[in-house]
């Protein structure tokens, strides 16, 4: 059962390796959005520290929607998606492999580049650590919720914009608790534990429901 999971995960990573530019566009988009804010808002230390949590998360949300329409669209166009559905494996597991590949290619780079963002915004080291942790918890949820929307809009004209309209409102809880955790970590004596627990809960919930929901949406889209 997991053989097909690994085959698909490796395939998607290999495809990304052949088309590296697609991975880098997302990463550079994230960095550019992040670096535009100090230019527009001003670069005083206090202002930067205040806006940093929100800016990081909004940039992460936008960057992750940017890559969503490619998640299933290419497979749909060349017919590999219908072969996936017909494969003698649970579609939810295959979908999970695709989500994982998507996160490794678009979410994980954001987590790893976070220290650089911290330097841009003069954040204390402890806060950078928290930022990486919440990004690590939150970005998989973005990929998983996004996959449902990408599956639902598959094959529709203008699907790319529609995906953004569908998922951005659904990303709000992640934005609120994700940036909340980063802000809180900059205040002495406040615990970030509730934020971390809530984000972990979101992730577990998404882990359970999103592969199944995405698999159902794919079957409907292919009819």
């Amino acid at each position: 059962m997991f053989n097909a999971f690994w085959v698909l995960l490796k395939r998607d990573l290999l495809l990304a390796l052949r088309r590296r530019s697609e991975v880098f566009t997302v990463l550079f988009f994230f960095l550019i959005v992040i670096s535009l804010f100090p230019l527009g808002v001003g670069s005083e230390d206090a202002t930067l520290k205040k806006i940093a949590p929100g800016v990081v998360w909004i940039a992460a949300l936008l960057a992750s929607t940017l890559a969503l329409d490619r998640l299933f669209a290419n497979d749909y166009l060349d017919g590999t998606l219908e072969q996936l559905i017909l494969a003698p494996q649970s579609l939810s597991i295959m979908v999970f492999a695709k989500m994982l590949a998507h996160w490794l290619l678009t979410g994980l780079p954001l987590v790893l580049i976070a220290p650089l963002v911290g330097l841009f915004y003069h954040l204390p080291t402890a806060t950078i650590g928290v930022m990486m942790l919440v990004l690590l918890l939150g970005t998989p949820v973005l990929s998983m919720i996004g996959a449902i929307a990408a599956a639902l809009t598959l094959g529709l004209r203008g699907g790319g914009v529609l995906v953004s309209l569908l998922v951005l409102p659904l990303y709000i809880p992640i934005l609120v608790y994700g940036s909340g955790a980063i802000s809180t970590s900059m205040v002495e004596g406040l615990s970030i534990q509730p934020y971390i627990l809530l984000l972990s809960a979101f992730m577990l919930l998404a882990l359970i429901f999103s592969p199944w929901a995405t698999a159902s949406a794919l079957k409907i889209s292919l009819e």
């Binding site: 053989n3 097909a4 085959v7 698909l8 395939r11 290999l14 495809l15 052949r18 088309r19 166009l77 060349d78 017919g79 590999t80 219908e82 072969q83 996936l84 559905i85 017909l86 494969a87 003698p88 494996q89 649970s90 295959m94 292919l222 009819e223």
Partner: protein, 214 residues
Amino acid sequence: MTLEVKNLQCIRGDRELFTNLSFQLEANQLMMLEGQNGSGKTTLLRSLCGLYLQDEGDILWDGVPIHKQDENYRRELLYLGHLNGIKADLTVIENLRINAGLAGEVPTVDVLMDALDTIGLYAFEDFPTSQLSQGQKRRVALARLLISKAKLWVLDEPFVALDIAAVELLQTIIANHVDNGGMVILTTHQEVPLTSGKIKRLSLSDKSFDKDEN
């Protein structure tokens, strides 16, 4: 091992493609699906694969509805549609290995190379499929037939884009499969001569003509 279709009905929009369609397909049998463009051949094939949900009727594999056995049925099934189902960025052999892997098979390099040799893509194994011609891409897709252990082949216009040699080759591959106890259902305007086994014919056009006259 039987594929049984009972009183199948498919409606697309407000157009009835076919209704009360029943047939049975057994080992060593080939079914040629005929009908004019738009008569519902592809829809029927996709219904047989479970990609399209029929409006009425049952599709049974060994007496059990296909939507109730999921993976068991899909293990016995190989579907080749209009799309080749290969990745342009991967090489020929990568495509073949990955497609087999997703179908739950782990073929050795020898098996893959033999298949490519037979299908006429010898020495092309490390070419990205994006650099191949239309007919060669189709051959990559068809190479799956040589590797798969599936019993039931559902082929939608398999002869499209193939040259004369490849058409003959595919006819032989299909005949061999029927010979070895497999079953094939396909849409084509090409005859497939069999060495043994039985050819069944099913025409969807007649039904739609009836419909038009009503």
